[in-house]
């Protein structure tokens, strides 16, 4: 009887250990392969490792604005509609250092879009492409609408003519770079999009994001002239 009991537990224990080991290894493998970045990952020209691999404009301006967003995020589209003109102004006039961090947590089509925006940045048309992606954001996430071809056409329609653009988009040249952007966002604890930091301080989500006057005021208070 005692013998039989021991045997039964042996089978159970074997199964328990197998389950735990298999789940643990699968988890470690999945998480690490998902985070792993190719050592020779291509980095967009405008990106800077010291700025969390974000796309940097006006690096010497005094006031720094970090914008974390996901091209598939509907609230980012709203935010974009409200503040885009002003932010583009800051970039073009050189009044502030603006760092764009395209995040990709919503899924595969976010990676495609972020990649395209980086390709556009290489062609000097980031702001235009950025606005055009939001203007044509599909109503459903990862629905198969936002393909490389879709994104390529969004790029050419804002005047990107470089021959390298097509290759950059279709080959997902900067797909690995998006992992670097995410790794930095994880370090900084960015847990929502859009997230905006002005000189390292996050804006107040309840008041300053969606009100263009308050958004502007936050920038001028931080020293934007």
């Amino acid at each position: 009887m005692a013998e039989a009991k021991k045997k039964d537990n042996f089978v159970r224990n074997l199964i328990v250990v197998s389950v735990v080991v298999i789940v643990a290894f699968t988890g470690i493998y999945k998480v690490s392969s998902n985070k792993k970045v190719n050592a020779n990952a291509a980095i967009p020209k405008a990106a800077s490792a010291s700025e969390g691999y974000g796309l940097v404009y006006n690096p010497s301006a005094k006031v720094k604005i970090d914008i974390f967003e996901d091209f598939q995020c509907p609230i980012c589209q709203t935010f974009e509609g409200i503040n885009n003109k002003y932010i583009n102004d800051l970039v073009k006039s050189g009044k502030a250092k603006v760092v764009f961090h395209p995040m990709t947590f919503i899924g595969p089509e976010s990676i495609l879009a972020a990649n395209m925006s980086a390709c556009a940045a290489d062609s000097g048309k980031f702001l235009e492409a950025h606005a055009n992606i939001y203007a044509n954001q599909p109503s459903k996430e990862n629905s198969g609408t936002m393909t490389n071809n879709y994104l390529f056409l969004l790029g050419t329609s804002v005047g990107i003519t470089d021959s390298s653009f097509s290759k950059c988009v279709n080959e997902g040249k900067y797909a690995d770079w998006t992992k670097l952007v995410e790794a930095d966002a994880a370090k900084r604890g960015v847990n929502a999009t859009p997230t905006v930091f002005v000189n390292g301080k996050e804006l107040d989500r309840n008041t300053q994001y969606m009100d263009p006057e308050k958004f502007k005021k936050a920038m001028t208070d931080a020293g934007v002239k």
Partner: protein, 173 residues
């Protein structure tokens, strides 16, 4: 998927809780109660873990949104938690070490209840991220009471499993 899993859980947990109250009165129901609760607790954990396991970034954002732990620690917890839930869920479903896997499930739920409560008390506006998603939501869209009630129910079922691990079907002999 997230919505479906959440809705199903919101039905199963109250049913389980009612059955828990009945089986505390009527002791002869214990073996079937243990099996029923194993299916609920194990199934919920496995589903919740599975739904979160595919998206590292979203999982770490959900944990960071609670603003309890330092960023890096919270991120790592976010990466690991789905897999812990999957392992514990499978063990409970299989009926292996139900005494301890039930206890671990109850402890996990206790931690979740504390985490959600503090988010509520501090006035954060977040989704619990229990079945994926998570992170900040608009101020009027929080569901703290529902989330806390659900996890408390699951905790009660987990404690029952800890105290009554022997049921029908299962690897424990």
């Amino acid at each position: 998927m997230k919505v479906l899993a959440e809705a199903l859980t919101n039905i199963l947990v109250p049913l389980g809780f009612i059955f828990l109250l009945v089986s505390l009165k009527k002791k002869s129901l214990q073996p079937i109660a243990t099996l029923f609760f194993r299916i609920i607790v194990g199934g919920v954990l496995l589903t919740a873990g599975y739904l979160k396991a595919g998206n590292n970034a979203e999982a770490r954002m959900a944990v960071q949104a609670y603003k309890i732990l330092p960023n890096t620690l919270a991120a790592n917890l976010g990466y690991a938690l789905p897999w812990i839930e999957i392992a514990v869920g499978i063990l409970i479903l299989l009926g292996a070490f139900v005494k301890y896997s039930g206890l671990v499930a109850a402890l996990l739920m206790a931690i979740f209840v504390i985490a959600i409560s503090q988010a509520w008390a501090r006035g954060l506006s977040i989704d619990c991220g229990c079945f994926g998603g998570g992170g900040k939501v608009a101020a009027g869209q929080t569901k703290y009471l529902q989330e806390i009630a659900r996890d408390t129910g699951l905790m009660a079922l987990g404690i029952y499993l800890f105290r009554n691990p022997r049921g029908i079907l299962g690897l424990d002999k």
